[in-house]
Symmetry: none
Subunit: 121 residues, 2 copies
Amino acid sequence: MSRSNPRVLSTLERAGGFASAQEVYRLMQREGESIGLTTVYRSLQSLVNDKIVDVLRRDDGEAIYRLCGDAHHHHLVCKGCGDTVEIEGGAIEKWAKTMAEEFGFREVGHTAEIFGLCQKC
Amino acid sequence: MSRSNPRVLSTLERAGGFASAQEVYRLMQREGESIGLTTVYRSLQSLVNDKIVDVLRRDDGEAIYRLCGDAHHHHLVCKGCGDTVEIEGGAIEKWAKTMAEEFGFREVGHTAEIFGLCQKC
DNA sequence: ATGGAAATGAAAATCATTTTCATTTGTGAT
DNA sequence: ATCACAAATGAAAATGATTTTCATTTCCAT
Ligand SMILES: [Zn+2]
Ligand SMILES: [Zn+2]
Ligand SMILES: [Zn+2]
Ligand SMILES: [Zn+2]
């Protein structure tokens, strides 16, 4: 495993909102930072592993990353503009637990996301 | 624009649940159907345009398609052996709808999956 | 039959992401 | 300071899904 290059995280912060690996890379280049695309990818992956950033998918399939608080939560994402709202998953947490118990599953986790078109789109 | 090749739709039906373009293509080949990958892609796109099929993204970014009319359900997947149980998402359907309304989102969909270790694993 | 439009698919192009691997850098012991 | 070894780096190649190109075939209306 490799540790995240701190300049990648700093750039993602500065980008505000979501940015893809390619975008972070281009941004760093434009700002005169010397870094390889591979390192950007590795750093973002590492940040995802450490749950410091979230990863989602654009409609075109490109992965986009964003800083994320560590509290467990879910997302409501606009298919049009990518705007995202962090939401509570109370009902889901219960649902996942109940279902898992019913079928005897252990070490249970879950993913859940809502997507649609926001008011502006 | 091209119209969808009916054999693609028929294959997607037979696949049950979600299938990627590549999977539909492989399935048709295995069944001895003569078709080009390009046509599979074009047909699926056309079906999406006509809102006959839904498209989502797997975690790895691959696009997966399914008939819109399919009975909507969710999955409980074993991380160990891959065994999958189809489950009802009652609580989630309500949660998604409520959250979307609260934030004024339209044309809303959602994904939700539970994963863990089954009894055998 | 004839001409043009639509459909088809093989091959090439695209593009994000991953893998490989040689080089550089950092660290700790001597 | 020197040596040894692990971690980090990045250029280049590989991968894999998807799209584009374009020549050919199939349909259909006249
Ligand atoms: Zn929007
Ligand atoms: Zn949750
Ligand atoms: Zn299992
Ligand atoms: Zn559901």
